[in-house]
Amino acid sequence: MERYARQVRFPGIGEAGQERLAAARAVLVGCGALGTVLANVLVRAGLGTLIIVDRDFVERSNLQRQVLFDEDDIARDLPKAVAAAEKLQRINPEVAVRPVVADLNAANAEALLAGADVVLDGTDNFETRYLMNDACLKHGVPWVYAAAIGAYGATFPIVPGETPCLRCVFAESPAPGTLPTCDTAGVIAPAVGVVSNLAAAEALKLLVRAQDKLNRALVWLDVWENTYQRLELGAPTPDCPACQQGRYDYLDARVGSYTLELCGRDTVQVVVPGRPPLALDELAARLDGVGTVTHNASLLRLRLPEHEIVVFPDARALVKGTTDPAVARALYSRYVGL
């Protein structure tokens, strides 16, 4: 217990809290700027099991703010979930860290999130968050919303059956183009650090069952403009479709393949849920001579004159060099097959 001595001395956690942490399972969705901070805090704190779900791989532009990654991860072309899990195991081998290189979607959300003691939001879009909200409400799993952009961000915890859910607070996501995105506003590490550490504190409270200490409010802050606001959330919205009417619109949209434009990346993601795993070495052999092909156990990279396709074993692909879903789908269909 030497590892946790200072934390156990803190009366809010103590030995009982530490034991609860060691028995707990958390799922982190999205292992970018927010996610790496959340994972770092919880693994150092002595969580029992951490499952990291992330669809992306490490790139140099991540290193400015994504605290678990380094140049080696780029040289090895590692998926974020795998790179983070390796680093976290070196930090604390007592925690079981399981990387899941996948996109959270309607087909896999329940299997990944049900049964968790807490779900952590490290995502970058509202579609995935509404899906997490649905799955967590359905299975009674508390989760913590967190988001940051530029120098500002917001966070609040959601406890099914108790507090307002994400759709109570934000009934709809902003329409594209109405608010700044990561391309237009950028992001600085301190904003992400503050917001994600506030979210991590809520996760710790949930895991050690200090529910009476939960910050039942939306915290909105800006580290550049020096604002901090704490806005009481009150009760759930009486007609909320998700938490009051039990209608899980995002979870129930169990659709076929779909595409998602990645914010500010000139990249479109193609997802094919429910497909058997791809053998990357076989695909590499098939693509031999088509373009420049490299692969490791976690991903295959096909470089074409104007595009690059990164294929993962779950049949998902990132098509770089376009923002047009139709182009991405066509390239996927041509080289991977739909």
Binding site: G153, V187, V192, W220
Partner: protein, 93 residues
Amino acid sequence: MSVRVRIPTPLRTLTAGAAEVNVDGSSLGEAIARLETQYPGIEQRLKDENGELRRFVNLYVNGEDVRFLQGLDTALKTGDEVSIVPAVAGGAA
């Protein structure tokens, strides 16, 4: 009735960078209308084409969500503080 409106970062491009703005209004709807005359374009960030509050922006009067007050009809008095809190999507992935 002069009230203080706290403008969130993403809307400050419309207020010439001002983080707080004082406007007159005896109700929230009136205060928003005044805000619009001073800073054209801000109203449509807060209200949809039917004149309803947008579902991804929350408004608070003295820290209380106006959904639990009287929405745009919520009465205001001098010294009240109105906060505008839009949804934040980024996760800086």
